[in-house]
Amino acid sequence: MKNIMKLAFSAISENESFARVAVGAFIAKLDPTMDELTEIKTVVSEAVTNAIIHGYPNEDNGMVKIEAELTDDTVRIMIQDEGVGMSNVEEARQPLYTSKPELERSGMGFTIMENFMDDVEIRSEPMVGTTVRLTKRLSKQKAMCN
């Protein structure tokens, strides 16, 4: 059975941990391990932070959208903004690449997503926005009694 949720929220940094927890709570019913939960919350943070600080650098009314879908043991998450977009996604994906070194960004956001998820797809168009699609299959060796 498929379970879907869609979320949209004001692109302000106070909502970052709300987004982490909302996605975490949605996937909690698959009973992931703490590692898996932490990994998923971390990638959601990275993508949401990117949407807020890179996607909407000068805008106050931007919204970030998240969609998540559970099928069996697979989690699919989409994070989307309608912000400034990127002209060179390949460059942006490089470890350590950041367009905002002055903000002390690490340039590791996309690298973290690639490390923690099974699949990372990025679509972006300047002036249209950015969509990140993340897929992770959860481990099945579940503790049966707790």
Binding site: S17, A25, D35, N115
Partner: protein, 77 residues
């Protein structure tokens, strides 16, 4: 990469259901303790600060334990 490793916790393979239950117990105890010392019901931030958690995670842990308890009861009892 050290940054990535910092995200990983030692008890990483523990199921969320168990780990969350422990956090929920700490929250319950902290709520009782703060209610006594403050003379009123604590706020979410007060609990979060004393347990070094984010307020959102306090909400999550508290709820997840409620939920898992009821699953546990229906399945095992």
């Amino acid at each position: 990469i050290g940054e990535i490793q910092r995200f990983l916790r030692d008890d990483g393979t523990v199921k969320v259901s168990r780990s969350i239950k422990e956090s929920a117990n700490k929250i319950r105890k902290m709520k009782e303790e703060l209610t006594k010392t403050l003379g009123r019901v604590p706020t979410v931030n007060e609990i979060a600060k004393s347990l070094d958690m984010s307020p959102e995670d306090v909400v999550f842990a508290q709820e997840a334990s409620r939920n898992l308890t009821s699953i546990h009861e229906t399945v095992y009892e």
